[in-house]
Symmetry: C2
Subunit: 660 residues, 2 copies
């Protein structure tokens, strides 16, 4: 306890400034704490027993809590707008069984319906008169959306679509909210009219009765069973046996089917990108949220926990004073901040693109798509690996659910797959990079988006002459050089494949490793750049006057730690020489030393309350061992009569007496 207090006392940071930066200002932080305190003090929303619940209890409790929240608590707290709503939900439970209504069903209606359709569906959804989900993924098809098999065949006689699951693999599989809860679904299916397959379109289909919640005729539906985590979500399966829906249940803002079955083409396929990009940018934010929780737990525990008496007469060393622990946790702390800044960058990019889209200007979409794909992939992978490293850095206690790590891991784990498999997304980013590089090579005057201008450098990149690892300018030059050389390597490999007469797919497949590597290189460059520019930029500087130096150190840690861990790539292209590595290590070590005394303040700044951390190791007061004891006192397994568990009477007794 006193250990954390003395770290806090010694800190020279103004953590409140950073908290204000992260949550969007002093007023919002005040509101955030108001909401969190209201949740913490409401016995209806108590979660202290969470880790002891079964999957079924967690699900049922989550439904209870969110029903109560939506009908009572949120109105009472006057929760309004997506930010407050997010803060509330985060305090109650990260997984809201009704979440798909908010994050997919309503946005899709808003984005893809005609005004008339919106007038019909939006009020129903906003009032929770219906409960929607988004039934895209099938047993046999995930990321490759064009391969979905569910059909929607138009019948001009009855002006209806016939929705059907023609194969076992076409069974809808995974959609959240579908297994138990939803009454309606948005169903992507192949639109077939006049005998022609027009590709995947979205339809609204009612699944369950609004009277008694039974599945409607022709609908086979249920829950796909327990997962690695997300116990609160009813991921479902769904099969259609020629289910009929009216023609205007096709979402018709972009493409239409006229009553006679005539298909009207959309203006641009790309117009529906908006939601996807938005969801991806929120995933960068979620990655920040998850990783910052894990880092908070690991750093606080590493102050409280001592291991090994290394000097006679002294106490055992605190974990965070081991250089190995610093080398693990401080780069992860810097990664959490990097993820915060890149998520804000992505949001700004999204907002800008929306204003372009509003003017039917789709010019910025390819870059937006490429950047958001790369960032989604790198951010979610970085968070997932980082969470696991945090857990491992806490030794054995990290394996207990009470540490809070498994819960965070469960939350983050599927993010590397959903909303586009990370490898597939990297390839998409790569194809764009290679295309732009080719374009520049053909015409050096091609204008490139800001993050890609390094591709037009004709000279090439070499090691900065008087290389200073603490110069952000030098860092960026090195990242640019490394990224450009990766792009060129991928391009060369592609050309090599083409020369050998491979078709497009085989050439791309043959270059797949180089392609994913160049996408990773580029995306790290973008993240490093956004970190540097944010910290050096006027806007952030004005908000964090007392903390700029430490944020600069974190930015340096992030950039140099990745450089060292991928030194092979920086050496290969020549922007780094092998004789530089000793100096690189030295600089990184001295940065770790600088950040070490502020590590607790820097996680305190995330302002994650104990009700969200749910961790005996990471609690704010550092009273770790007492918390562990309180935790076992909750254990139902210890509450049997005379302290003897029923397995004794039922089984173990036989064994003990078997030789008598």
């Amino acid at each position: 306890m006193e250990l954390l207090a003395s770290e806090r006392k010694a800190s020279r940071l103004d953590t409140e400034q950073i908290t204000n930066l992260i949550y969007g200002g002093r007023e919002m932080v005040k509101r955030k704490r108001e909401i969190e305190n209201a949740v913490a003090s409401d016995p209806n929303l108590d979660n202290s027993y969470y880790h002891y619940q079964t999957t079924e209890e967690r699900f049922s409790e989550a439904v209870r809590k969110f029903t109560y929240s939506i009908t009572k608590k949120m109105p009472q707290l006057k929760i309004s707008g997506p930010v407050e709503s997010h803060l509330f939900r985060r305090a109650v439970e990260s997984t809201n069984p009704y979440a798909l209504q908010i994050i997919m069903f309503i946005p899709t209606i808003r984005g893809q319906c005609t005004q008339e359709q919106k007038d019909k569906w939006l009020p129903l959804a906003l009032n929770y008169d219906i409960l929607g989900c988004y039934a895209q993924t099938e047993m046999g098809h995930g990321t490759f959306v064009r391969g979905l098999e569910t059909t929607a065949t138009y019948d001009p006689e009855r002006q209806e679509f016939d929705i059907h699951s023609p194969t076992l693999t076409s069974t809808k599989w995974w959609p959240g909210g579908m297994g138990v809860i939803a009454t309606h679904a948005i169903v992507p299916a192949r639109l077939i009219t006049k005998g022609e397959d027009k590709g995947i379109h979205n339809f609204i289909v009612q699944l369950r009765s609004l009277e008694n919640h039974k599945a409607l005729n022709g609908i086979t539906i249920g829950d796909i069973g327990p997962k690695f985590g997300y116990d609160e979500a009813d991921n479902g399966y769904l099969r259609f046996d020629h289910v009929r829906i009216p023609r205007d249940n096709l979402l018709m803002r972009y493409s239409q089917v006229l009553p006679d079955g005539t298909y009207v083409h959309p203006k641009s396929e790309k117009l529906s990108y908006g939601t996807m990009v938005y969801v991806r940018s929120t995933l960068a934010y979620s990655s920040f949220d998850w990783l910052s929780r894990a880092v908070t737990i690991a750093i606080r525990y590493s102050i409280v926990r001592r291991q090994t008496q290394n000097k006679p007469g002294e106490l055992e060393t605190q974990l965070l004073d081991y250089v190995n622990q610093q080398y693990t946790l401080i780069p992860l702390l810097s990664s959490a901040y990097a993820l915060y800044f890149i998520s804000q960058y992505m949001l700004r990019l999204y907002t800008k693109s929306q204003s372009h889209l509003a003017q039917d200007n789709i010019e910025s979409l390819p870059e937006l798509h490429a950047t958001s794909s790369g960032v989604k992939s790198i951010a979610t992978s970085m968070a997932l690996k980082g969470i696991e490293s945090c857990r491992l850095s806490c030794g054995g206690h990290g394996y207990s659910l009470s540490s809070g790590f498994p819960y965070i891991f469960y939350q983050a784990a599927p993010s590397v797959t959903y909303e586009g498999d990370n490898t597939v997304l990297l390839l998409q980013t790569a194809h764009y990079l290679v295309k732009m590089r080719q374009r520049v090579l053909e015409n050096p005057n091609t204008s490139l988006p800001d993050n890609l201008t390094y591709l037009s450098n004709q000279r090439g990149y070499s090691r900065p002459i008087s290389l200073d690892f603490l110069s952000t300018r030098d860092q960026l030059i090195m990242y640019e050089g490394m990224a450009r050389s990766s792009v060129d390597r991928a391009l060369a490999k592609l050309r090599d494949g083409a020369r050998k007469g491979n078709d497009r797919f085989d050439a791309r497949n043959g270059a797949a490793i180089e392609l994913t590597q160049c996408a990773e290189a580029h995306t790290y460059y973008v993240i490093v750049k956004s970190f540097i520019e944010s910290v050096e930029g006027r806007e952030v500087r004005s908000m964090i006057s007392h903390n700029q130096t430490i944020l600069q150190s974190l930015s340096n840690v992030f950039s140099l730690h990745y450089m060292l861990s991928r030194s092979g790539s920086f050496l290969e292209c020549g922007v780094l020489h092998s004789t530089d590595l000793v100096e690189l290590r030295r600089v990184l070590m001295s940065l770790l030393e600088q950040v070490r005394p502020e590590a607790v303040a820097l996680v305190d700044a995330f302002d994650i309350p104990d009700i969200i951390l749910r961790s005996v190791l990471g609690r704010k007061d550092g009273d770790v061992y007492r918390a562990m004891w309180e935790w076992v006192e909750l254990n139902p397994r210890n509450k049997h009569r005379f302290g003897v568990h029923p397995v004794y009477r039922k089984y173990t007794k036989q064994l003990l007496k078997s030789s008598l």
Copy 2:
């Protein structure tokens, strides 16, 4: 289904030969299958419902199954010896709630008791008249055993020890089998006699009544609650309030306390190393077992699963035909084989050391300790990361418990912490390496153990002149060069710290990164070497005549993939030039191409039956999608009246009707 069949048909391997190699000969494989079939066909040992059980059900079921097994099934099958016993347990359930009896309690009695003590305790334990656990770890102390706080104070009046938990943090915490099951424990505690603290010694303490299983007076005991996994284990806590035990409950083979309290010193502290080294070598085998399961699932599913139609008119591409998928899974396949060979190497090393120990020859112990520490650390980390990569390579379905991945992950996850935290172990290996290197520098004629002779190379290492990546000799030279340069870097850093006037701990701590890196470098070298020597050695060659080429390819994949992923280290020391990387990638790619057609055969050779995999994705017949459907039909959540889950009536209905 047909997809796997056609892979098998096209294979040119004799997988049975490899299976025989892995399990120790044709007869043992026959016996293994006999055992597995007997388990699979016994309804008392059915595990098809496993993934749907709650933590409490899994625990209770495991106790039931193993009580039944020990009292009935194992005698019936005439299971004898540790190998058969392992094969049986593996088929029933990897976690046996009575396992600590076998793997810790009995071996410790065997290793650390006097003959008289053995005569008393062994028959009781072997007959299951008592149930033992090993109560070492405390809330506040894990890997740093010297810091344990539990005291055993000798009272010469009554010739008893007084066992006591003086602080909250001295509470025993984590021991398996202790929470619910055990009647006795081996308790490491500080031996205090005549007012002097003699350090940690082992005591046998009875915990629960043999009559009614109630905790004895002075004992506070229970279960520490749910974990990331190991639902079948009752990891416990335990506090002593001045519990009295007879003097001869101190395990007295090595040190004694005479009736008057006189302490008799042990001959060598190192004599008790044996068990530890044995357990670590079995962990290398477990790492092989876990990773081979994950790889089996991922590779089979990657044949069955198709994604994206890449060529007009053709079916979608099978996952394993994507180079990215090959680049993930084939190196992991090679890692599984590498882990198999290193585990065999470790066992041989252990056996050799036991025969030395029997002659009180402790010369080989330091190397044994260093090698086993490094291998334990690298093997468990490799397996854990590999399992996670396998899961991620299977996209969304990998996140379902039905994939089998989460279960394997849960099993492997704590292994990086227990039996010595991996980072601490690497440091121990490193200190040994640095010491030996110093010794050689001081005296070039120092004789070194086989795996360390590269440290005595005076010339240093440079890039082989006509470098051939497929030459195992060249590979070993490069690994030796990389490892030696890592050791030298650590040594330089240590000296640097000493020069600056740091004390021993501060100097070591300042060099911690270089130290862990050199231990990793050395250990990879040892693993690569054991892989190469096993495959090229006469013994293995004679057993796998038809498969040597493919095993050589796997050995090359393992060695070159690591070289590429750590290219920075190989470039830094100059054994690799950056211009070599293009060729290195090319060679690795062509190896992946060679292995790809045999990937299914190579996982089939692990011979892991479906009852052990418990995976809808990895089943041998490849009938994945039908299995997924059968899996949801088991789901109790889908079995409510009219298909309507109770949460509807209790909660969701209110929400849906709230605006009416």
